[in-house]
Every structure is written in C-alpha cells, then in structure tokens.
C-alpha cells in the first residue's frame, strides 16, 4: 500500500535547475513509467524518491507523509539499478539475504523468503554462485530478487534492462510485468525506451528537460499526444510531422504544403483553427497505406506517391514515400516486394490526423 504525491518538486545542482516543479500523483499498486531522452531528469526524480538525492524544494510524500527528510531505508522502498549493483564477493543467497539480516529477521524466515523469491525468478540452481559466474539476465534477476525479498511497498527501477541484449530485454520485460501482477506493489520505472514504457506501464509520464510533457495511459499518449515531442517520441516508427499552413475555403478546410500538396482536414467539433495558421501536421505511418483503386476511403483522402526507400520487416514494410514533394513514412502489411520509384496510391486515414501549432508545438486539432 503506497501512494506517492509530488508537489512542486525542484532539483538544483548549484545554480543549474534540472527538475522544474514536478506535480504528480501516483496511485497505489500503479505501474508508472518515467520516460524521456537522456538528461530529462527522470533518473534524478527517481533518486529523489529513493532518498539518494536531496529535494531542493517542494515535497514528495508517501502515503500522505512527507519523506523529504526521511532516510532511504525508512521509506519502505527497494531499488534496482541498471548495473545491478550486486555485491561481487557474496553469493546469490547472501546478496538477497543481506538486506534482511540488517532488519534482524529470523534466520529460517530469511531462508524461506529467499527460497520463495528464487523459485519465482528461476534462481534455485544459482543460489550458491557468485555474481561473476552468472549471465547478465541472471544478474538482473538477482538484483530484482534482492528487492523482492524485502517486500517493499514501492519498487524503483532505474533503466534495469539497458545492459541486456535485445532478446533478453523482451524476456525480462515480460518478467517484470508478471512480477508487478504478483507482488501488488507500486512500481516506478525509469527508461529511455518508449517501447518498454508502452508495454509495461499503467500510466506513462513523458519528461523533457525537467518538465512533464504529458501524463497518461499508453493508449492516451499514442492516440492523443499533447504536443509534437510526445507525438514523435511515442510509437514506432515515429509519427510523420510536417510543417504546413491551414487554408479555409468556405466550409472546407485543408492543409497546404509548400510543395503544393493539399491534405483535407475533416470537420471536428471544438477546433479553433485560423486561416493561414502555421501548423505541424501529424499522421502515423500506419494511417498511410497503399490502397487498391476501389478503396473504402473518400476519394480526396487518396494520394499518389512514389517509393523512395522500402524497408521490409517481414510482417510489414515501411515505405519512405514522396507524396507530391512531401516525404512521408507509410506502412504496408502487404507481403510483397516494393521497388524504388514504384508509383503507389496511398490512402490516408485522416480521422487520425493531428495538427500542432507551429510555435507552441501544442496540439490544436
């Protein structure tokens, strides 16, 4: 049982401010992911929760108790680091048990708890090995096990999968998700990998330069990004973002590109676009697909384009298209080979169109 509340949390190193007034509520048993490019303050934020960094101003509370001046060990949390931070001179059992011996847990209970966790993580056969005799994935499991035996109310993960190879990362990702379902603790997870964020999180906090850009469920961030940064950061491949101008012609509205391309903007309630407003158009690659002539889309949503580069991935092909002088990324699930310079008809699902103001970069449509 642990709820966290950040109120105007600021972190300064000397005169440089790296975290600027973060306000955030984290619910009990929530899996919250802090994501952002390096240097965005996500790790600093996590370390402030852990008590490893001082909070320059503002407060962090756990269960309505301000923890600014409470020692790390009394905050009821456990942390897993990117480089595992295992004690190399102790075997796996002792690595996991050591935190418990401090709290004077009886010996048989320590053994029982460690064995229990070892079974969950599949470490039974490795309990008496030293960390250097384990593979990267096993070490990461030991680090997680060490956190789990303490039965903390909050788990903190600081880029725990960054040192693993791609295949292992996918496997461990699933294990962390299972761990969350099993332990019923609040988890705060820091990563720079948006795929990890999307797959793991109940809610994602996107950070940039010490500011929160957007908070929401993975689906919310994906389908309604608040600004161009989130739009470009979440989703693979990244969303097409192209500068253009809004043109109004009676009731009809469209976006005019410098090259002459015009893309219609469907009517939507509550939008306040001005004529000639400079905007950034955002449309995901999966909403731009090659279509046959008899497609179900309105005729003005179909454009002709030329293939610049085709990137086959097996299940799908990413197509870098030249659509009347505008470079757009499109995605096809057709299993065939696309040739460069091939002319295609592209259908755009403009119901999923996003427009962002060119100056503020905030969503306007």
């Amino acid at each position: 049982m642990a709820e966290l509340k950040f109120i105007d949390v600021v972190k300064r190193y000397g005169k440089t401010q790296v975290v600027h007034g973060i306000n955030l509520d984290i619910r009990d048993k929530e899996f919250l992911v802090l994501v952002g490019p390096s240097g965005c303050g996500k790790s600093t934020l996590l370390r402030m929760v852990a008590g490893l960094e001082e909070i320059s101003s503002g407060t962090i509370s756990i269960n309505d108790k301000v923890v600014n001046d409470i020692a790390p060990k009394d905050r009821g949390l456990a942390m897993v680091f990117q480089n595992y931070a295992l004690y190399p001179h102790m075997n796996v059992f002792n690595n996991m048990a050591f935190g418990l011996t401090l709290s004077k847990t009886p010996k048989d209970e320590i053994k029982q708890r460690v064995d229990e966790v070892a079974v969950i993580l599949g470490l039974e056969d490795f309990l008496y090995r030293r960390p250097h005799e384990l593979s990267g994935g096993q070490r990461q499991r030991v680090a997680m096990g060490r956190a789990m035996v303490r039965k903390p109310s909050i788990f903190l993960f600081d880029e725990p999968l960054s040192n693993l190879d791609a295949k292992l990362r996918i496997q461990m990702r699933a294990e962390i998700k299972m761990l969350h379902q099993r332990v019923n603790s609040t988890i705060i997870y820091v990563t720079h990998d948006q795929v990890e964020a999307m797959t793991l999180a109940d809610r994602i906090v996107v950070l940039r330069d010490g500011y929160i850009e957007q908070v929401g469920t993975p689906m919310e961030l994906f389908s309604t990004p608040a600004n161009t940064f989130v739009a470009g950061f979440i989703g693979t491949p990244p969303m097409n973002l192209v500068e253009c101008r809004v043109q109004k012609n009676g009731d009809a509205m469209y976006t005019q590109f410098e090259s002459g391309l015009k893309i219609p903007v469907p009517d939507k309630e509550g939008t306040t676009l001005e004529n000639d407003q400079e905007v950034v158009l955002g449309l995901r690659a999966e909403e731009i697909t090659p279509v046959d002539s008899g497609a179900s889309l309105p005729e003005e949503w179909v454009f002709s384009g030329k293939v610049l580069v085709a990137e086959p991935l097996g299940n799908e092909t990413h197509l870098h298209m030249d659509v009347m002088g505008v470079n757009l990324l499109s995605k096809s699930e057709e299993k065939r080979i696309f040739n460069p310079n091939e002319n295609l008809k592209l259908g755009m699902n403009l119901n999923e169109l996003h427009l962002f103001d060119a100056k503020t970069m905030k969503v306007v449509y």
Binding site: L52, K73, Q82, H89
Partner: protein, 265 residues
C-alpha cells in the same frame, strides 16, 4: 627460440646477477672474497649469517624495522581508507587541489623534512621510538595510499553504496562488511607499497633513532670500520633484508597483478 624469450632471459640474468653475487659473497669469508675471483662459493660458510642471528645488535635491527614498518603500514591504511573514500565519492570545494597537494608530499625529498621532524620529535620525547619512524614515514605513505586506494574505490560503482543505504546499512558496517572486501586487492597493493617504502627508507629512520629503535639499514652501516669493510657480513645482511619484501610480494602477488591491471599503481 623466439626473440621474446631471448630478451626475457637476458633481462632476468641482468636482474638476478647482483642478487646472486650478494648471495655468493654472503656464503664466503672476507679473505676468500678479497683473495680470489670465483663464480660460486668454493668453501661455503654460514658464519656471516650466524653472527647476525646471534648478535642482538644485529637481529634487533630487523625486529625494529619490522615493528615500525608494520606500524606505519597499519596507520597509513587506517588514515587513507576514509580519506580515499571521501575523494572518490564526494565533491567538495578544492577536492582536486587537495588531492594533488597530497601527492606533492610524496614528491618532496625526505631530507627536506629531516630537521623539522627531528626537532618536533625531540620536543615530544619521541626520538628513538618505533612510532616516531612510523609516523614520519606516513608523510610519504598516506598520500600514496590515498592515491592508490582512490583508484580502486572509484572502480566500485556508486550504486553499491546506494543499494546498501536503501537496504538500511549504517555507514561503518557498510564500509567494513561490503566496501573493504570489494577493494581487497587495492588494500593489498597499498600495503605492499607502504611496506616497501618504509622498509628501504634510511635517512629518516636513521636520524630519528639511536639505539632502541635502530633499523637494520642503519645497523648495516656499522660494517664499515677502520679495518675496512666486512663484505661477507654486509652481503648476508643484505640477503636477509630481501626476505621480508619477497615474502610480502609472495602473499600479495595475485592482488598486485589485479592492481596493475586496474591502473593507478
């Protein structure tokens, strides 16, 4: 034979020759040494060694040296461990300058400190005590120890400390049960260097002692007398001074290799 092997053998011969010659001399009488040239001792005698082991003024030299060297190594390590931890883990005003200043102590010639030390220790009545020599050598060994240990400590990830603090370790317990074992090889290497410096240092050790704490190096100068040099005895004493160093190297050889691999040594 490969070129490398040839060079290695030549190098080893050049390295071992003086030591062999000392061993050779230590097993011969003075008359024999001065009388004839011989690549190996023809009439082996242990008289030189017997003199050292039976004459208390000789063997006490070794005991005194070992006492102050051990004292010095322990003091240096106890002082340098926390200092090196602070340098490796914390940022404070002037930390880099302080670190460099410590090293400059190591660069200064011992003779510079001779007079002040002599006066200081006389005032406190510490002349001719083991602790006086041990403390004087700290001036050189503590900076060296801080320098070496800092390198080893910085190689330990900070997250180890942080995990321990989240786990609820108090600092002293963390330091002794987790951190010190992690830099074991560093401590071994440091102890070795402190030992070696203190063991061979003559100037300070000789000036600060008269009889009760007189080191072996000073005792060895006694072999020069009006009747000439006692070659055999000097060589035997020399061989015996190599022994403790060789033993220490034997014990820390694995750590030493690790230490060299990690740099900073």
């Amino acid at each position: 034979m490969k070129k490398r092997t040839v060079f290695f053998i030549i190098y080893m011969i050049l390295l071992m020759l003086p030591i062999y010659w000392m061993l050779n001399m230590s097993l011969r009488t003075n008359a024999d040494i001065l009388g004839s040239f011989s690549l190996y001792p023809k009439n082996i005698t242990f008289a030189n060694y017997m003199k050292i082991f039976t004459d208390s003024s000789w063997y006490n030299g070794y005991i005194n040296s070992i006492i102050y060297v051990t004292l010095n190594t322990m003091i240096s390590l106890v002082a340098a461990l926390p200092a090196a931890y602070a340098f490796s883990r914390y940022n404070f005003i002037g930390d880099k300058h302080l670190f460099f200043w410590l090293l400059t102590n190591r660069m200064a010639p011992a003779a510079v400190f001779l007079l002040p030390f002599f006066q200081l220790y006389s005032t406190f009545g510490l002349i001719d005590t083991h602790i006086a020599v041990a403390m004087a050598h700290c001036l050189f060994n503590v900076p060296l120890a801080v320098w070496i240990l800092e390198g080893f400590m910085s190689a330990v990830p900070r997250e180890i400390d942080e995990t321990a603090f989240i786990d609820g370790y108090k600092f002293p317990r963390f330091f002794l049960t987790i951190f010190v074992p992690l830099i074991r090889s560093g401590i071994g290497v440091t102890a070795f260097f402190c030992f070696m410096f203190s063991w061979v240092e003559l100037l300070l050790a000789r000036t600060l002692t008269t009889t009760d704490a007189k080191p072996i190096a000073a005792t060895m100068t006694r072999t020069v007398s009006a009747t000439g040099l006692d070659w055999g005895l000097l060589a035997a004493a020399g061989i015996l001074t190599i022994v403790p160093g060789a033993l220490v190297i034997w014990f820390v050889r694995n750590n030493l290799a690790k230490g060299f691999a990690m740099g900073r040594v």
